[in-house]
Structure formats: C-alpha cells, structure tokens
C-alpha cells in the first residue's frame, strides 16, 4: 500500500518540473508540454485524494481537466501553426510585436 504522501510528493515534483519548463524554455512547443505536465500533476493529486477520501468528486474533476487540456492543446497547436506561418519561428522571445 503506497501512502498518500508519496503521491503528493510525486505530484509536486512533476508540477515543479512543469513550472520550471514553462518559465525557463523558449520554445513554444516545450512550454506547451510543460503546461501539460502541470495539468497532469494536478490530476495525479486529485485522483490520489479521491481514493484517500473515498469520494468520487476528485475523479470527476479529473475528467474535466483532461477535456479542457485536450481543447487547450488543440487551440494552442492551432495558434502555434498560425504563428509559424507568419513568422518562421517558435521561440517566444522573438515574438514581441506588442512590446510596449
């Protein structure tokens, strides 16, 4: 029986990796993947708590998160392709037309 704390630690480690990737990488694709990591780390902790508390709420929430993540990935990739057509780069620091 794996204790709850292991799941929580796993979840926070993955979340931190995602956060770091999101902040540190310049490639839009890598940033995307980092966001997915963060979302899934949350999913892990949700499922873990759901099992621990014997409540279905957490698992239902996970389905919503997966759905939203799928939609987000679709839109995000579409934006990315549109961007790439206009400007042959996926590096975020080269996309700064709205710089003040």
């Amino acid at each position: 029986m794996v204790p709850l704390s292991w799941y929580v630690i796993l979840s926070s480690v993955i979340f931190s990796i995602g956060l770091f990737g999101f902040l540190a990488r310049r490639s839009l694709i890598m940033m995307f993947m980092s966001i997915e990591l963060m979302l899934n780390s949350v999913n892990i902790s949700l499922v873990a708590f759901s099992h621990y508390l014997q409540s279905m709420t957490g698992q239902i929430l996970v389905f919503f998160v997966i759905t939203v993540a799928a939609a987000e990935a679709a839109i995000g990739l579409a934006i990315l392709i549109a961007l790439y057509r206009n400007k042959p780069t996926v590096k975020v620091d080269e996309v700064n037309i709205l710089k003040g």
């Binding site: 999101f22 310049r26 003040g100």
Partner: protein, 638 residues
C-alpha cells in the same frame, strides 16, 4: 375676459403662423395674416376702452405662472384707464403701420419675417402695458427689446444694420440691468410683485433707508431710481440715448413702430404706472425731471445739423421723450401720458412720411440730396406739414395742447421747475427750427438728387395711413384742452386721474397765458429762422456752419458721445475680453485643463508601458509569483 386675452393673443398667433409657415407657404401674403390680427386687437381694444370709459376697470389673474413658496406670480391683466389708453394707442398706430408696410416692404425677400416680428413686437408691447405685476412687465420689457433687435437688424446682411441691432440690444441691457434689480428689490421689500399690493404697501416703507456706498438712502428712492434706470435705457434718455438714432438702420415702418407705439414709450408708461412709488421720493422725481429736461434740450440741438432725414426725426423722438419724462418728473403724469398719446400720432406720421420719401427716392436718406419733392408727392407733403405743425406746437394741433400742458406744469415746479421750463422752451424753439428745416430741405427748393431717379407719390396703401395719421395729428389733442379755454376741456386728464392723480400746483391765469404765448412765439420764431435760412437765403446755413465750425462739429458728431463710450466702455471691455477672458481664462485655464490632462496621462503611460515587455516568460513569472502569493496569503491568513 376672452377679449382681454385675445388682444395680445391675436398678434401672437399672427407671429406663430407667419414664422412657421411664412417661408414655405405664405411668403408675400403674410399681411393677410398680420393685418387682420392686429386690426382685431385694435377693435377689441376699442371695445375695452369704451368699457373703461364707462367705469369698468378690472384686475384679473388668468393663470398661476410661478408658484414657489411665498413667491407667487400670475399672468394677469390690469385693465384701467392708463392701460386702456395705451392699448388703444399701441394697436391703432400699429394697425396703420402694418397697412403701410404692405406697400413699403413690397417685394422684400423677408416679407413674411417682417410681419412675423412686427406682430411679435405688438404682442410684447401689449403684454407690457396690460400686465398687472412687475414680472410680466419685465417679460414684455425684455420681449420688446428682443423684437427691436430682430427688426433693427432686419436687413442683417448689411453690417451697419446688424451692428445697430446689437447696439440697441446691448445699450438696453445696461438699463435693463438696473430695471431687473429694481424689480428684485421691489419683491424683497414688499414680498409681492402685484401692482395693487405694492402700491398699497408703498407708503409703509417711506421712512426706511438702506446703506448704499456708505450713505443712507431711502429704500423707495433706490427702487425708483433702479426702475428709472430701465426707463432711461428703453426710452433712450441721456446717457443711454445712443441706440435710438442708430436704430434708423431698420426699415422705416419699424422706426415708426419703435418710436411711436411699441418700444420707447414703455419707459414713460412704466414710470407713470409706478407713480405711487415715484410720488414718495422727491429725489427720484427730480432725477426724472432733470434727465427729461436735459434730454429734451440736448437731443434737439443734435437734430439741428443732422442730414439724414430719419436721424433728424430720431433725435426729435429722443427730445420729445425728454418732454414726457419732464412731465412725469414734475408730477404731471397725465400731461406726460397725454404727450405720449399725441406724440404717437404725429411721430408715426413723420416716420411714415419720411419712409414715403425714401421709398420714392430709392432709399436715399440724405436730405441734402432731396428738395423740391412737394410737387411730386403732394399727399406726403401735406401730411408731413400737419405732423410738423403738431410737433412744433402750433395752436389747434395735437402737439400744442400736450406740450403746453407739460411746459405749464414744469413752470409751476419751483426753482428747479423754472430752470427746466427754460430748457423745455428752448427745446421747443429748436424743435420748430429743425422740423421746418427738414421740410424745407426735403420738399422745397430744387431737386438736388440723382437725375436718374424720378420721384413719384407712394401707392394708396401707404398714403391712406398717412392721411389717417394726419387727422390724428390734428385732432388727438382736442381731448386735452386746458381749463383756461373750456370748462371740463381737459377730458384726458379727468379720464386718467383715477390712476395718475391730479397734478399739484396752481398758478394764475396770467402766468398760464404767458407760458402759452411764449411757447407759441418760440414755435413761430423757429419756423421763421428756418424759413430765412433755407428758403430766403439758402447760403446762410453754409455760412453759419463755417463760422461756428467748432459748434457745428460738436453737434454734427452728437457731442462725441458714441466716441466717448467707445473709449470708456467698448474698448476696455473688448480689451478685457481679449486679455482676461480669451487670454487668461480661455488660454491658460481651459486650455491648461484640456491639454494638461492628456500630458499627465502621457507621462504615466511612459512609465507603465515598461510592464508590457512582450516577453511571454516574464508574464508567466509574474503570474506564478502572483499565484504563489495568493495561495500563501490563503494559507497564512486563515
């Protein structure tokens, strides 16, 4: 009841119809609306006058106009001897002028507009004379001022006409400012604006004084002087007479209307209406008398040398108004109103006659370019003669009775009265001279104008009103024959006495005959001098003009009053407007706010634009820090 309402309402309806539908539909048929309307009010006024003659006076409130706490003002009419007479004068003269205008304004582009404003003018004046409280009087007062602006500047594409309209309006503002204060002070003092109540309470405040510029002045004196301020402006007395001669820029029927019926007499009427107030203040009465006497004389001196036919008559009006105020000032209210009534006829006649001349000569107004018109326009000539005989005070004609009454009453008014009587008699001499000078220059001698113009008599629509007015100029005075000649001859004095009282002071018959004889002598003297200067020795006028060139210039330039005002009031005001209003207030304050606000926003935005770094990771970092902060807050603050 209905007829009282209809009297002012008919001209108002005529105004509304003409102004709304005139441009598109009525056009040159505007008189078909206006003339019946004003004639209708004339007939109704006549009926009302007959009723008043039988002793039926009324004070009716029609409509609660302002109800605010203790402040109540209603639209109401006071129909008594004074207002009935005024209504009759206003509507009768107006009707004739309206008919005359059909001929005079024929073919003018603004024909409908002319009749619309004319109707509004009559409406305003009727409201003014019929009102039973000060606020409605003030309404009429301001409305006639507005109409005078419209009509003096009727040919507004001409700059001089537009300027004259503005001048009339602005000069009147000066007087009306005082008048407005007077009305306010009346309300503050008496707590009401109804004539009857104010006049009833007036003796109660007789002793009260207020501190004005460090000295105690009787409250009633202040009220009277403030009200008189308005009269000075509206009735063109010195020092606010400057607008009236310039008002000649308007079409001639307008001049006639302003001078005879609807505007300048308002001041005289108002002072007469407020006689219970004025009677209580010796100072105010003396002021009125002195202003009147001085105006009568000085305006007459200016009229001596003017060359514009209408200007001569305009100064003559100022002078005659001076007589009226002189009469009011010495307490002879009936004589003042009597002169107002006779003056209305002969002055309207003079103006319409001069309009007929101007019409015949295609808008030539300079008398030096006229002459010899007698044979071309006999009707105009003979009616003009009637008016002149009347205004100069030849016995038997209307002006004689009223002017003589005024001079006689002035003569009885103590030492000040004697002095003013001399001024008045002097003015009578001058009046005779300039009136005959006008006749001789215009109608006698040989024609000096443009050869291409062939003078002709005016159409009947213009000459018939002249003839009717000429009859008025002769017979109008017959209701005021002095008791010296006929017992109960002074019918108008007896008629008006319930409102205006009997003048005080008594003199011997010998004195009265002396005063009368003297005024007839000066009238004839003026005539003889004019005859000698312009008919027998036509060079004499020129010789005198060059010999006394200083005096001639002084008079010709109207004592430089306009120039004086230009230096002391107009230019400083303009400079003030330029420097303070335009330069400081508009330039610094308003511009400062309008330009300063965007500048401020610009400064801040220069600082805040740095936030928009355009770096996605930067935004993400801030977002993360924010999220951590909020979560931390939630954990630690719980």
């Amino acid at each position: 009841m209905t007829k009282y309402v209809l009297i002012p309402l008919l001209p108002l309806i005529s105004f509304i119809i003409n102004i709304l539908f005139g441009r598109r539909f009525i056009k040159h048929r505007a008189h078909w609306v206006a003339v019946p309307a004003v004639a209708g009010s004339f007939i109704l006024s006549l009926i009302v006058f007959m009723e008043v003659l039988n002793g039926k006076t009324q004070d009716i409130n029609l409509y609660e106009w302002v109800v605010s706490g203790d402040f109540n003002v209603s639209i109401g009419f006071l129909i008594d001897q004074l207002s009935a007479l005024m209504m009759l004068v206003v509507t009768s003269i107006s009707t004739l002028i309206f008919i005359y205008s059909i001929g005079y304004m024929h073919g003018d582009g603004g024909y409908y507009r002319f009749f619309a404003y004319l109707s509004l003018f009559v409406f305003s004046m009727l409201m003014l004379v019929m009102s039973n409280n000060f606020l409605l009087l003030y309404f009429g007062w301001e409305a006639v001022g507005l109409c005078s602006y419209f009509l003096i500047g009727f040919w507004f594409h001409k700059k001089s006409a537009a300027d004259a309209g503005k001048k009339a309006f602005i000069v009147n503002r000066f007087g009306d400012f005082g008048f407005g204060l007077g009305v306010i002070l009346t309300y503050l003092t008496f707590g009401t604006l109804q004539y009857t109540e104010v006049f009833e309470k007036a003796p109660l405040i007789l002793g009260q004084t207020i501190n004005f510029l460090g000295s105690d002045v009787g409250l009633i004196t202040i009220i009277c002087l403030l009200l008189f301020c308005g009269a000075v402006g509206k009735s063109a007395q010195i020092p606010l007479h400057v607008w009236l001669p310039d008002a000649m820029e308007g079409p001639t029927p307008v001049s006639a209307l302003i001078h005879a019926a609807t505007m300048v007499t308002a001041g005289v009427f108002m002072v007469a209406r407020c006689n219970p107030l004025f009677n209580l203040s010796e100072t105010a009465m003396q002021t009125v008398a002195v202003v009147g006497g001085v105006t009568a004389f000085f305006a007459a001196t200016i009229a001596l040398v003017q060359n514009d036919i209408k200007r001569v008559i305009a100064y003559s009006t100022v002078s005659q108004l001076g007589y009226m105020f002189l009469a009011l000032g010495v307490g002879a209210y009936t004589a003042g109103i009597f002169h107002l009534y006779t003056h209305a006829y002969f002055k309207a006649l003079l103006f319409l006659g001069s309009g007929s001349v101007i019409h015949a000569l295609h808008n030539e107004q300079n008398m030096q370019k006229m002459g010899g018109l007698k044979k071309y326009m006999p009707i105009t000539y003979w009616t003009f003669i009637m008016a002149t005989l009347s205004i100069t005070g030849i016995p038997g004609f209307a002006g004689f009775f009223s002017k003589d009454e005024i001079l006689w009453r002035t003569f009885l008014g103590g030492n000040l009265g004697k002095f003013l009587w001399i001024l008045g008699t002097g003015a009578a001499l001058l009046t005779a001279f300039y009136s005959w000078r006008l006749i001789y220059l215009t109608f006698h001698g040989r024609y000096r104008g443009d050869e291409k113009i062939h003078p002709h008599e005016s159409p009947p629509v213009m000459t018939v009103p002249l003839i009717i007015l000429a009859i008025g100029a002769v017979v109008a005075g017959w209701v005021g024959i002095p008791p010296l000649f006929a017992e109960h001859g002074d019918k108008i004095g007896e008629f008006l006495s319930p409102v205006l009282g009997h003048p005080e002071g008594h003199g011997t018959h010998a004195q009265e005959i002396m005063v009368m004889t003297l005024s007839v002598i000066v009238a004839l003297l003026g005539w003889i001098i004019a005859y000698n200067m312009y008919i027998r020795k036509p060079d004499l006028a020129l010789t005198l003009g060059t010999r006394f060139s200083g005096l001639y210039k002084l008079l010709y330039n109207k004592y430089w009053v306009d120039e004086l005002y230009s230096i002391t009031i107009v230019r400083p005001t303009l400079r003030l407007a330029e420097k303070v209003v335009l330069g400081f207030f508009d330039g610094v304050i308003i511009e400062g706010i309008v330009n300063g606000l965007p500048a401020l926003i610009d400064v801040f935005s220069q600082k805040f634009r740095k936030i928009q770094a355009g770096l996605l990771s930067g935004y993400a970092l801030i977002m993360t820090i924010g999220a951590i902060f909020i979560v931390g807050l939630w954990i630690f603050m719980r």
